[in-house]
């Protein structure tokens, strides 16, 4: 065991010992054990993130009707734009799924291409969001204008920041994939980002339902 670890290149994280649970369990079982630690930990991080979004949703639900004689959702939101950015995020979800499927087949180039497509969709979403925020700002609909706009920018902006960090992570992951190929650690990273990316799409469902559609309807 020490001979195999000595031959591996220097890595800047704690490597997981693939044979840690080998002694008392079967080989198949051990295979499960060393993977689950990171994935479950990342899942619990996502759940805590979900609580942050839950609190922001609660804030918006409470304050979203206080316009302070300022603009209301129906004056501000352009649903055509929101429909386009929603489909951008939805397309990026399915293309990420394709990337994971290519990874399962051991196809590095296929994984890279689908991840790049995912990143492009993510960047389009971010571009549309920046355009929307900039547009609102020029109309005078700033976070300072009313409680509705404060909670709106806080909720949608936090989601946008998450998408921006996800896109940054995607770029770093692409570099890692090109440098080291489909190693065990890289596969795990792809699966973690997969959870993160699909989770952000899930949060966006709540955003467009509560903020945009309900806002324009009422």
């Amino acid at each position: 065991m020490s001979a195999t670890t000595a031959n591996q290149p220097l890595e800047f994280f704690v490597t997981e010992d693939p044979h840690a649970a080998h002694g008392d369990h079967g080989g198949d079982h051990a295979e499960h054990h060393h993977e689950t630690g990171t994935m479950l930990g990342f899942w619990i991080y996502l759940m805590s993130d979900c609580l942050i979004f839950g609190i922001l949703f609660a804030t918006y639900a409470v304050l979203g009707g206080n316009y302070a004689a300022g603009p209301a959702p129906v004056d501000l939101f352009d649903l055509d734009l929101i429909l386009i950015s929603t489909s951008m995020l939805l397309f990026s979800s399915i293309t990420y799924g394709f990337a994971v499927l290519r990874m399962d087949k051991g196809d590095l180039n296929g994984t890279t291409i689908w991840l790049i497509v995912t990143g492009v969709f993510g960047a389009c979403f971010l571009g549309l969001e920046i355009y929307e925020f900039n547009h609102l700002w020029h109309l005078g609909a700033t976070p300072m204008a009313s409680a509705f706009l404060s909670s709106f920018f806080f909720l949608v902006g936090t989601h946008g920041l998450h998408v921006a960090s996800g896109t940054l992570w995607l770029i770093v992951l692409l570099v890692q994939l090109r440098m080291h190929g489909l190693t065990h650690a890289n596969k795990r990273r792809v699966m973690c980002l997969s959870l993160f990316w699909h989770f952000l799409d899930l949060i966006w469902i709540g955003v467009f339902t509560l903020v945009y559609l309900t806002g324009v309807l009422l």
Binding site: D28, E31, H32, E35, T36, M39, L40, W43, I44, M47, C50, L51, G54, I55, F57, A58, T59, A61, V62, L79, D80, L83, T86, S87, L90, S93, I94, G97, F98, V100, L101, D104, M191, L195, H198, F199, D201, L202, I205, G206, F208, T209, L210, L213, T214, V216, L217, L218
Partner: protein, 119 residues
Amino acid sequence: MSADTHEGGHGSLKSYLIGFVLSVVLTAVPFWIVMGDVMDNKTLAVVLIFVLGGMQMLVHIHYFLHVTIKAEAGWQVMSMGLTILLLVIVLSGSIWVMFNLEENMMPAHEQIERVRNLP
């Protein structure tokens, strides 16, 4: 390879496509309801788009996030259950309390009249 397929559940092409088609439908319908202005009853329309949004969330959890009862020896679904419980308490609690507060802090016209007519 066989260990990979049921480990954490990476899904198959078929399951991703089913999830995608369902998501497209569940996105298109609420946007159509609001943008097409198809319903006269606003309350019913809001309830409908929330139900459709909730359904789309379930579709994402099942087809994209691959949450199953067996994954991670049940801890994945357990932590999600706790999160949902906390979310329900935070969301319903905040909305309920703040709605009550608003009702009582901002007296409507008839409430002012009632106070005025007190003996």
